[in-house]
Symmetry: C2
Subunit: 392 residues, 2 copies
């Protein structure tokens, strides 16, 4: 092209997820690749009561009743928060984009878990972030390592997914949450806490937002309705400490004026109804069964090939492979067997922390397909490991 | 605040429009300030047929059938375009934001009409654009002035609203459209054409998109359903020359994954139905009457105070005041009389092209309120002119 584009476009990486998702959505493919909720569990959408009042332009901050319900829900989790600190977003992805707009210039240092959410990496990278990774351990990130990295890199913010992390499934202990908050308070470092999976919980675990433990550090908390209702509506939200909020609202306004009102109206009705808790309980029951099915299948087929823990919530298993397999190459082979997974490589913010891994979604396929798919996948991976052994 | 935000945030201007709109939405205020469609003319929203299929995540580019219908509509206007060049956006405002992301780094030169759409200025400013204004004349911008400005400033793109421009109401002649296209082709300068008002037309006039006359220059065409259906749904679109499209889709994906599917599904149904043309004809009949009512009221009350032309389409009158009135101060006085308008100042991309002006919306108030409000407004402006004379 002869014309100039922004430097931003040079940082648009090849759209691996897009390409993979397109292939995996072909009929007949058993896909563990995406993070799709099960469509058969989604609530019926009934807009009759709210359609007429959702036609005109609305407020950039979102519908007042929905904001109040969200603030009430967050306070119930321990995050004291007023409705005027809540912004409704066009999906939680927009919350990530607004955080990028708010904080990141070219070269701005950002600390993140390693591995972390791929689409957050892509989004922050477009704004020019310089990434520094905090290796994830069983209990979360190490607070001492966090402090050392803050002192060394002076990040604009720390991006964490403490509950049922994507891709690792890790859920921080309460002690780790408190220790992380103490380091952030001590150093005055802003926290961006991404919490889209918090209501998908299958075993008891600590889920208090880290933001709830902050006393001084600025914070942005990102929430989602996509995983528990209907992602096609594109309604998420964020809450923030008061000083950041006016900036974020202006950036939201210049991004898309406001979020679709019809989805907000339906959610306002649904989450205030008795149906909501029933729906969550049913969804979690089904997902727990699928998690258990995948866990049993993995024990049967992947012992010796990989290491993993069954996640206490969320949507994913994260398999650390014991041999150094090229997982992108393995994916190509898997697709010829009509089974798909997400290669681990792109989830790492920096190259030298990478290890060979797979992310497997368990919410979308039925238990029968999970059984069948894990069997197929183990054959593919076994072949790839043999090849790695022969050529290595 | 002790923590760092992006340089972008330093360019977030005070949210004048937001503040004004909040005041003007108080009951009892006759507001000519916003650009709100009349709610009583909006079509009924009936989602029964499409709710179930709109729940899951969807494609970033938008729903295939809607993209095909949009491409077909654009081809009917003379802009040859395939469905795979069409991206559905979360309102036309998101199209403007994606253009900013695509083209603008800090200091990137951008050419725009003077005056031009306030929210585009705000959005491009956030990305760091350096503005250069092209004064609007009755027939559009002057092609020779455009060429001289391109040679001098080497802009990343030219942003134009050739049909029923916001705020001026100007509609480019066909000769001006062709001459502008020729200059852009000759210099290889990308065009961003914003065309949200094209279907709101009350008198015969040329409306072929300038993009349709381009042969070589890259282009992005921004369209909207907000002005002709229901803005609360937040569904707009863009089309672009093929080389730009893949970049824009990736930026869309990192902004909000995709646009709400339920609004897309309803629009797909509505714009393919016979009701659509009937609805447009009815809406244009009512708006033409409101335009005429405002024109008569202005002739009665504003002759000697301002100069203007009745617009052939769109939503606004633009009044150039004959005396040097502080229109922001005048607005404050007007609000004490329960009538509101939009001051002209913020619509100018550069200070030295400013002149005192008002923008008056005629789509939202009833004819009775228009009569009454214009009378009140002329009293306020007459007082302000006298004050200007006394103190000047």
């Amino acid at each position: 092209m002869t014309h100039r584009l922004s430097r931003r476009t040079e940082r648009l990486t090849s759209s691996l997820i897009r390409d993979i998702l397109q292939i995996t959505q072909q009929p007949g493919v058993i896909s563990f690749a995406g993070g799709l909720p099960a469509e058969e569990l989604m609530p019926d959408l009934d807009f009759d009561a709210c359609a007429a009042d959702s036609r005109q332009y609305g407020p950039s901050e979102g519908e007042p009743r929905l904001r109040a319900l969200i603030a009430q829900g967050l306070s119930g989790l321990g995050l004291r928060c007023q409705a005027d600190q809540v912004l409704v977003t066009t999906g939680s992805q927009q919350g990530i984009d607004l955080v990028g707009k708010l904080f990141i210039d070219e070269g701005t240092p950002v600390l993140l878990e390693s591995p972390t959410y791929l689409a957050a990496l892509q989004c922050f990278r477009v704004y020019g972030a310089a990434f520094h990774g905090l290796p994830l351990q069983v209990e979360g990130i190490d607070p001492d390592a966090l402090k050392a990295a803050i002192v060394r890199h002076r990040p604009a913010f720390v991006y964490l997914i403490p509950s049922f992390q994507n891709p690792s499934g890790c859920c921080y202990t309460d002690a780790a949450r408190r220790a992380v908050a103490a380091v952030l308070d001590e150093t005055g470092t802003p926290l961006v806490e991404d919490d889209p999976y918090r209501d998908l919980v299958y075993s008891p675990c600590d889920r208090t937002p880290v933001c709830a433990y902050l006393e001084r550090a600025p914070w942005v908390y990102l929430g989602s309705f996509s995983k528990i209702t209907a992602p096609g509506l594109r309604v998420g939200y964020l809450a923030s400490s008061p000083a950041l909020f006016p900036w974020i609202v202006r950036l939201k306004q210049s991004s898309d004026l406001h979020t679709s009102r019809i989805g907000q109206a339906w959610l306002t009705h649904f989450i205030a109804s008795d149906d909501f808790e029933k729906h969550l309980a049913h969804m979690n029951g089904v997902y727990a069964e699928r998690r258990n099915t995948m866990q049993f299948a993995l024990v049967r087929h992947f012992s010796g090939l990989a290491e993993w823990s069954a996640p206490a919530g969320g949507l994913f298993f994260w398999l650390r492979l014991v041999e150094d397999v090229d997982t992108l190459a393995a994916l190509k082979v898997a697709l010829t067997h009509d089974v798909a997974f997400m290669p681990g490589e792109p989830f790492f913010p920096v190259a030298d922390q990478r290890y060979p891994a797979l992310r497997l979604n368990f919410s979308h396929a039925t238990p029968e397909k999970i059984e069948q798919g894990i069997g197929l996948l183990s054959e593919v991976l076994s072949q790839c490991c043999e090849t790695a052994f022969v050529t290595g």
